[in-house]
């Protein structure tokens, strides 16, 4: 290996968990002494100068980590993932999009779990709106999707959502039953 330092740096960078000296030596097929010398260089290199992350010795191995002092800034990164949803939020949004007006009981029937918390989050994010009360005993609230929902998904209106028929048309098993020339 010509450039062991480059390789060790890449291993540590790409690994999910800290890599021990033994493991690095095994992976790079180099002696532990050689790997250790390279790690010493890297440790020094990353500690000099203000870097956004540093090489940490942790859990018996080596790992790149961000500086703890940057944590307040980096928290914003997690919070801001606007286009990522939990499975629960996605399911709830999907039911309401297709079933609106939908009551909480209907949503929970389909999901099989309590959905109050998720619905509140979606309301807070302005993806849902309350359409009124349903004219049945108990007068439960009816929910629908908001304009912001349409904007977020780039839909002109709700008719732009694929129907279930269109969706299942992609399913290979259904397609086999209907050969192409007869479609």
């Amino acid at each position: 290996m010509d450039n062991l330092k480059q390789l060790i740096e890449a291993f540590i960078f790409a690994s999910e968990s800290p890599l021990s000296l033994d493991r690095l030596s095994h992976l790079s097929e180099q002696s532990k002494a050689d790997v250790k010398a390279v790690i010493a260089q890297l440790l020094q290199q990353y500690s000099a100068g203000n870097r956004g992350f540093y090489l940490a010795e942790v859990a018996g191995g080596y790992q790149f980590r961000t500086d703890a002092e940057l944590a307040p800034w980096l928290k914003a990164l997690n919070r801001e993932r606007a286009t990522r949803f939990s499975r629960a939020a996605l399911e709830t949004l999907a039911i309401i999009a297709y079933r609106q007006p939908a009551t909480r009981a209907e949503i929970e029937y389909l999901r099989g779990v309590d959905s109050g918390g998720v619905m509140k989050t979606l309301l807070d994010k302005n993806l849902l709106r309350i359409l009124g009360k349903k004219d049945i005993p108990g007068r439960p609230l009816m929910y629908g999707t908001s304009r912001h929902f349409l904007e977020m998904f780039g839909l002109r209106d709700l008719n732009d959502l694929p129907t279930l028929k269109e969706f299942t048309a992609l399913d290979p098993e259904l397609i086999e039953a209907e050969p192409l020339d007869s479609v």
Partner: protein, 255 residues
């Protein structure tokens, strides 16, 4: 040429045709249609002899090739020959276009791919993971939405919401109804009022509730001569009292 061609190796009939054209060193703009059709058909035949499933698309292309071939064999009419299209034209266009995307596909295969050739750092060890975060996050788009809904309803029996269908009945309406009837007839039996054959159970319940309500309001008098004998209802109110009677849904507190 060898017939030992496996259709599975080809992504479709166009792919197979391109292979044949290439292996015969033909000019794609001037395909020898008779030759290529024969070869194509013999491959399909061979597959069918081996009892292999030949996908519909391959058979469709065979039909198109035969069609083009027959057109090529027709003598050209003198007047039309200038304007008439080469029967191969559309096929050539499709083959050329397909070939381009086939090349791009090969190029994509060679590009450094994420998690195959190129790796990104793992962000799991940042010192600021928010607590209680749902880890099973998904990127979301129209497809994901449709997919989530499809999966949910696929596992569920169709529609068995315990929806209570509200009949257009209200105690207030029946209070008015009974008062109206009694104003006309002075005295009616409770049995007549309820004649069970004609009314649904909910009508009976509402009628009963309305009767009780009227008794409570001291508008209705109920008389019975002996046990299990007829129950007679008569109005026991002045016209003034009746005029003031505005049975209100909310007030009566029945649905």
């Amino acid at each position: 040429m060898s017939i030992q061609i496996q259709l599975e190796k080809f992504t479709g009939p166009l792919d197979l045709l391109l292979h044949l054209i290439k292996s015969q060193e033909m000019d794609i703009y001037d395909i020898r249609i008779v030759e290529i059709t024969e070869q194509y058909l013999s491959i399909i035949d061979h597959m069918q002899q081996l009892d292999l499933d030949v996908a519909g698309e391959f058979l469709l292309m065979a039909a198109s090739l035969l069609h083009i071939k027959s057109k090529m064999l027709l003598p050209l009419s003198d007047e039309m020959s200038e304007e008439e299209e080469d029967p191969r034209e559309e096929l050539v266009k499709r083959l050329l276009e397909y070939q381009r995307y086939k090349n791009v596909a090969e190029l994509f295969q060679q590009l450094p791919q994420l998690s195959r050739d190129v790796f990104v750092g793992q962000s799991g060890f940042v010192d600021c993971v928010e607590e209680g975060e749902d880890k099973s996050e998904v990127a979301i788009g129209i497809y994901q939405l449709a997919d989530a809904f499809h999966k949910l309803i696929k596992d569920k029996p169709p529609e068995i919401f315990h929806e209570v269908i509200k009949e257009p009945l209200s105690v207030a309406d029946y209070v008015r109804h009974i008062v109206g009837k009694l104003t006309q007839e002075k005295r009616i039996s409770f049995r007549e009022l309820c004649s069970p054959g004609e009314f649904s159970r909910s009508v009976l319940i509402v009628t009963f509730l309305a009767t009780l309500e009227l008794v409570k309001l001291c508008i209705l008098r109920v008389e019975q001569v002996g046990d299990f004998s007829e129950i007679w209802l008569t109005l026991d109110a002045t016209d003034e009292q009746l005029a003031q009677l505005h049975p209100d849904k909310e007030l009566l507190a029945y649905g």
